[in-house]
Symmetry: C2
Subunit: 291 residues, 2 copies
């Protein structure tokens, strides 16, 4: 496999740090430049051997890089792309890790005229409750999915290169359109996060019930685990992917209206049918899947 | 502590079996009668030493019992109470483990004229994905809550006795009204279960998206864990506690309407505020609580 001379990671956190760490371990990268605003974090990354050079200015960080990973918060990807664009090496391949894809692609196109052929939009489905480079783990992507959403004009060699690197760090890579990606993740990830945030928000210090959290157990803890996610990150995702999220939220509201109707009419048979179909689907696809 | 001469457990599953097992271990019960329709399960209970006698007829099973635990599905509690009532010893104390309380109390009162003073309605907040007596565990109730919802006319000695037994098996016992109980558990347990069932049902074999479950990870798995719960049990709970559940479902629908509005207007500030308030509440009450 083609070695990378210089990898520049902009945003050296859990994702960016873990990617660099594993590529170094595999000997697939010669030199790693880490870029971020938090110099303590960059010092930590140097100390942990995740990066070779720490740079705070993205336009300096990308000099001479043949691969640039944008691992910054979703709302910062396009602005940073615009900033580094004039300083990129002619054959540099750029990829990102944003949880929404169409908004990143459109925003970059708006800012610099067209979405560059060397840009391969990506989304690794890996995360932990811990963040920051101190949590970097060379096995983070093992058996996890990475979704790539190339455009029609994306350079096939750039796509192949990014794909090969994610596979090298252990990920299972899928390709789909940005639009399909955004729908799927609106439905299976963004919506559930909003549902969990909304439930905890509704019950918190409820004027009628008081502190109800004291009566909850494991079911509630698991159901709301994603409501302990980072508010900055989820604000960005909610705003950037609002179009697809609204669509799936509306579908869900219709589902709840159906449920309310079954409750009002005390329709035990249809409630049972809905519950057992859901249980069967989850047991089949989530509990018993092999991957 | 006052020893029980004969404990009759109607419904020898995870809950009933674990209760009997721990009381035996503590030497607090002389003799345990297990009652159920499934003779294989009763044989298993005998083999595991959870019960001393296996009986399939509840009217026979309660003969001579000073404590009767009704650990049957929610919809069967009142009908079985009606059936055993003429055969109960004069001083027998009866308690149940149903997840909704007002419906059980009202149904018993409807069937036998008045809710008996010797009946102490209860709800242990303990459960596992496994069920049946084979999963019985003498530590199941340790550090878990048990809610008792006595009526004004409930016999204080009966209440004290049931409370002492739950404390003996390790539970932390709270008392509240049946009505408050049903509201709290509609909001914190029944509603989340319905939300999880509804999401999985909506996404299952979706005509537009296909099999989206393949793209889900740990967040979705945890959020939907309760959608793998038993459909019979949840049909009973949904029907029996429909009044309180509808109330909280409507409150939640209003919360989602607010969220949809914030998404439509791309109001990042208010979305951030909602997410961070929810995260702070969960981190405070769920993640960092001591019990």
């Amino acid at each position: 496999m083609h070695q990378i001379q210089r990898l520049t990671v902009i945003g050296v956190g859990l994702i960016g740090g873990s990617f660099a760490l594993k590529l170094r371990e595999l000997g697939l990268v010669q030199d790693v430049v880490g870029c971020g605003r938090n110099t303590d974090n960059l010092d930590k990354a140097l100390e942990l051997g995740v990066i070779d050079h720490a740079v705070t200015d993205p336009t300096v960080a990308v000099a001479g890089a043949d691969l640039v990973l944008l691992a910054v918060p979703l709302g910062s990807i396009a602005p940073i792309y615009q900033q580094i664009q004039p300083f990129l090496a002619p054959n540099a391949v750029i990829t990102d890790v944003g949880s929404a894809k169409a908004s990143v692609i459109n925003e970059i196109a708006d800012l610099i005229g067209e979405c560059p052929t060397q840009f391969v939009p990506g989304h690794p489905i890996a995360g932990r409750e811990q963040s920051g480079v101190a949590a970097a783990d060379n096995e983070l992507f093992k058996a996890h999915r990475v979704i790539l959403t190339p455009l029609e004009h994306t350079c096939p060699e750039a796509l192949a290169r990014v794909k090969a690197l994610w596979q090298a760090v252990g990920a299972q890579v899928s390709e789909m359109t940005a639009c399909y990606h955004d729908e799927v993740f609106a439905a299976t990830s963004h919506l559930p996060h909003l549902l969990a945030f909304a439930l905890v928000d509704m019950l918190n210090e409820h004027p009628e019930l008081g502190n109800v959290f004291q009566y909850t157990a494991g079911g509630f803890r698991d159901f709301t685990r994603i409501a302990s996610s980072d508010a900055d990150m989820w604000r960005d995702i909610a705003v950037q992917n609002h179009h697809a999220i609204i669509k799936w939220l509306e579908a869900y509201q219709a589902e709840l209206a159906k449920l309310a109707q079954l409750l009002t009419t005390q329709n035990g048979d249809e409630l049972h049918q809905l519950f057992s179909a859901a249980k069967a689907a989850r047991d089949k696809h989530i509990v018993n899947r092999t991957a």
